[in-house]
């Protein structure tokens, strides 16, 4: 199977280039990551992140034939040859397929992604009704792979100011949590022309999310709650 992979080692290369690979696959090679591991075995200078190899850790997000996704859960049979692999767009490249995710995590941290509740701690745990718990479905599953935020032009342009789809999905995850008491502070923090309202609902995030989540809907819900608060 033929591949074209983005290569860039800032210590050696003047500028990035695309390197061609032709690998013989074994019948057990089903996912793109299997092929990448095989390529790495023959050319160990190729750098990429991977860990769980089953779509849970979010390490091996990359741009696959022009669309962001996780290499470990992308079946090889669905890919058109030559398979063109590039690092996630919009983030600084550290080397080859590895990008610097600092900006992405900075935005994630800015929404305070933890439960805020000032009530005294109960003996065991803070309980939720099954209905309240259901509110979190489609929100808590995010693995922070950055496929969504790095496919968003608003995030490309203002990564330092726009929270991005992943961060906003996480923000809504805590706004929607019946145990969280900081809803007003969270809404105040997002009431900003850059932080939230740079989203123009083009839904690239929904298109690429490897977990099938819908950040655009979460962003819409945040706006709904803001309207409820204002009107």
């Amino acid at each position: 199977m033929r591949f074209r992979i983005y290569r860039y080692d800032p210590e050696q290369d003047q500028k990035p280039y695309m390197k061609e690979y032709d690998v013989a696959l074994e019948p057990s090679d089903r996912m793109l990551l299997d092929a990448l591991v095989r390529i790495k075995a023959s050319d160990d200078s190729l750098s990429l992140r991977r860990s769980c190899r089953e779509g849970v850790c979010g390490s091996d997000a990359m741009n696959i034939n022009g669309k962001n996704g996780l290499a470990c859960i992308t079946p090889l049979v669905e890919l058109k040859e030559p398979v063109e692999l590039r690092p996630l767009p919009g983030l600084p490249v550290i080397r080859d397929l590895i990008v610097d995710m600092s900006q992405f995590f900075k935005q994630y941290h800015s929404i305070k992604p933890y439960l805020q509740n000032s009530d005294p701690l109960p003996e065991k745990e803070r309980l939720q009704s099954p209905t309240d718990r259901e509110e979190l479905d489609g929100l808590y599953e995010c693995i922070l792979c950055a496929c969504c935020s790095t496919s968003c032009p608003s995030f490309w342009w203002n990564p330092d100011k726009f929270v991005g789809p992943a961060g906003l999905l996480a923000a809504y995850r805590f706004i929607a949590d019946s145990r969280d008491q900081a809803t007003n502070d969270r809404l105040d923090d997002l009431e900003d022309p850059y932080r939230l309202f740079r989203c123009h609902s083009i839904m690239n995030c929904v298109d690429v999310c490897p977990k099938g989540l819908n950040p655009t809907r979460a962003i819409g819900r945040i706006k709904e709650i803001m309207i409820k608060r204002m009107v």
Binding site: D160, K161, P193, R195, F197
Partner: protein, 116 residues
Amino acid sequence: MVKRIPVGAHYGLRDWLVQRVTAVVMASYSILMFLVVLVQRPSHYGAWKSLFTSQPMRLASLLFLLSIFWHAWIGVRDILMDYVKPTGVRLAMQVGVVLLLAAYSLWSVQILWSIQ
């Protein structure tokens, strides 16, 4: 000076809402105009003139134009926020756009009410 990226302007929802509401106004007016032309079929100058001299039509047209201007303000401001980085230049351009749109609004009133 410390290089900071300040965010948290505490506005945005109103503009977002305004953009939706003005869009509805513009769409409604467009459909209304289409229907009026379809039904009345104004074929000569006099018919067009009488169409636009009625008070409800004047008000509807004014509402439509003000919606365009308000909608345009938010859109143009967003573009300036994305492409004009120096704060002073951006502020000056934003003020320019606001003044221009305000002038357009007054001009619209003058035009609409000048049809006798």
